[in-house]
């Protein structure tokens, strides 16, 4: 193989930057939006404008506890159950955190479309596998802890 051969999906110049630029565009939008949500919702939490399950002034009593004890003492939900508690201010910042963590997934979806259009089967397969890995991690499947 000629090692200097350019390719549609690699870093490089001109049209070879099409895929990286697409990924960057989706990622940047997702990150900016999520950061804004994170800052705004955290502001709501610490100003106590909306009631919280654990008020900010009480969090210092539990942040030194091991995770299992913390969950037992506070009764906070795990997995995606936090979505049912969005009327509490302490769960709202998780929207921003999930957005930041999920921005990569959206970028991969965009990349899959690119590789499918350009018939790059190997990298399409790698992207699809990565999406499965990210979805598996996000699903909450796995061994129970401690």
């Amino acid at each position: 193989m000629n090692p200097t051969r350019t390719h549609a999906g690699t870093g490089g110049s001109g049209k070879t930057l099409e895929a990286p630029r697409l990924y960057a565009r989706v990622l940047e939008r997702g990150v900016r939006l999520s950061l804004a949500v994170l800052a705004a919702t955290f502001g709501l939490y610490i100003t106590r404008l909306i009631p919280s399950q654990i008020p900010p002034q009480e969090i210092e009593h539990v942040w030194q506890l091991p995770l299992n004890d913390y969950l037992r003492v506070t009764g906070l939900p795990t997995g995606w159950q936090w979505l049912k508690h969005l009327d509490h201010a302490d769960f709202l910042p998780l929207l921003g955190i999930a957005g930041l963590t999920g921005a990569t997934l959206l970028s991969y979806l965009a990349l899959c479309g690119f590789y499918r259009r350009h018939k790059e089967r190997v990298f399409l397969a790698i992207c699809l596998l990565e999406i499965l890995v990210l979805l598996f991690a996000a699903s909450g499947f796995g061994p129970s802890i401690h």
Binding site: G12, P20, G102, G142, P143, I145
Partner: protein, 321 residues
């Protein structure tokens, strides 16, 4: 050098040294007057989050100047000197490392320095391993994690001080895997006013390293720039700039999968995560501005000293000393 520029340069170095020392002193001082066992006894409820924000802001500046990720400094220092449990510190550390990378990655991708073909297979391996690392990290008792983290940090200090990255490593034939995955790229090098064309080699060996890197990143919440760059540069032969840029991109993927595990297990506490993430991102932004003008080697030495101190303290804390 004129007298004015000499004093200006000396002044900048002095300010940076003070920032670095403050970065180490803030948590140590805070831990001194309010030890973890008595957390909240002296400070109001918002005291620790404010200290954490200030500390992370300074950390963001230092991390950029020293060329290390925020996560590798965040976990051992915050874990050793702040009153938060390691489960929450590691979750926050992953998000700190991930957000720093998310901020940097788009720029590196647009310039062609971060290489998709190099990053995608490595990210698939590392992110899968990081999930296993996160599961195991959350299953082990704090004492074991703290001791293992201390040992890992001291190992990282050795790697950072010994590794001599090469701007343009000598690269042989690409080999079968590198050819199949088309591990090659090109980018514009403004310092040399030329287009750099490169290809990687030893892809199989290099990609295997990402199992270890991903596992450690997930287990300790460290981020993994300290390991990504040597593997991409020294093992796989990518030019240093491409290795650094690809590492940032890679981190944003590896840490995302491990972060999901921490989110699902309930180990993400917004009161710790938000001041940390915002502080490090603001600090990194300012650090990048300063970086364009000055690159003091002494900062790297101070960072290595901080890491050594945090590593030793982590081991002592893990052993109950």
């Amino acid at each position: 050098m004129t007298k004015a520029s000499y004093f200006k340069k000396a002044g900048v170095k002095l300010i940076l040294a003070i920032v670095a020392l403050a970065c180490a002193a803030i948590p140590a001082q805070a831990a001194g007057f309010c030890p973890p066992a008595a957390s909240g006894a002296t400070l109001p409820w918002w005291g620790w989050p404010v200290l954490l924000f200030v500390f992370c802001f300074l950390l963001g500046i230092i991390a950029v100047l020293a060329g290390v990720g925020g996560g590798v400094l965040f976990v051992p220092i915050v874990g050793s000197f702040f009153p938060f449990h390691m489960d929450f510190v590691r979750g926050a550390g992953l998000l700190v490392a991930m957000c720093s990378s998310l901020a940097a990655a788009p720029n590196f991708l647009r310039k062609g320095m971060a290489n998709l073909h190099l990053a995608l297979p490595a990210a698939l391996i590392a992110s899968t391993a990081s999930i296993a690392g996160a599961w195991i990290g959350l299953s082990l008792p704090q004492a074991i994690i703290q001791t293992a983290l201390g040992i890992a940090i001291l190992g990282i200090v050795v790697i950072l001080s010994k590794s001599r990255e090469s701007s343009y490593p000598a690269v042989g034939a690409p080999g079968r895997i590198a050819s199949f995955l088309q591990l090659q790229g090109s980018y514009w090098e403004p310092a040399e006013q030329r287009q750099v064309e490169w290809h990687a080699h030893h892809a199989g060996r290099g990609l295997l390293w990402f199992i270890v890197i991903g596992f450690l990143a997930g287990m300790f919440g460290l981020g993994a720039g300290w390991a990504n760059v040597p593997v991409l540069n020294l093992v796989m032969g990518a030019p240093l700039k491409a290795a650094v840029a690809t590492s940032h991109f890679l981190l944003s993927i590896t840490d995302a999968s491990a972060a999901w595990v921490y989110i699902n297990k309930g180990a993400i506490m917004p009161m710790i995560v938000v001041p940390s993430v915002l502080g490090v991102m603001l600090g990194s932004f300012l650090g990048a501005k300063v970086f364009a003008r000055v690159h003091p080697k002494s900062i790297r030495t101070i960072v290595l000293a901080m890491l050594t101190l945090a590593g030793v303290r982590s081991i002592l804390k893990g052993c109950g000393i």
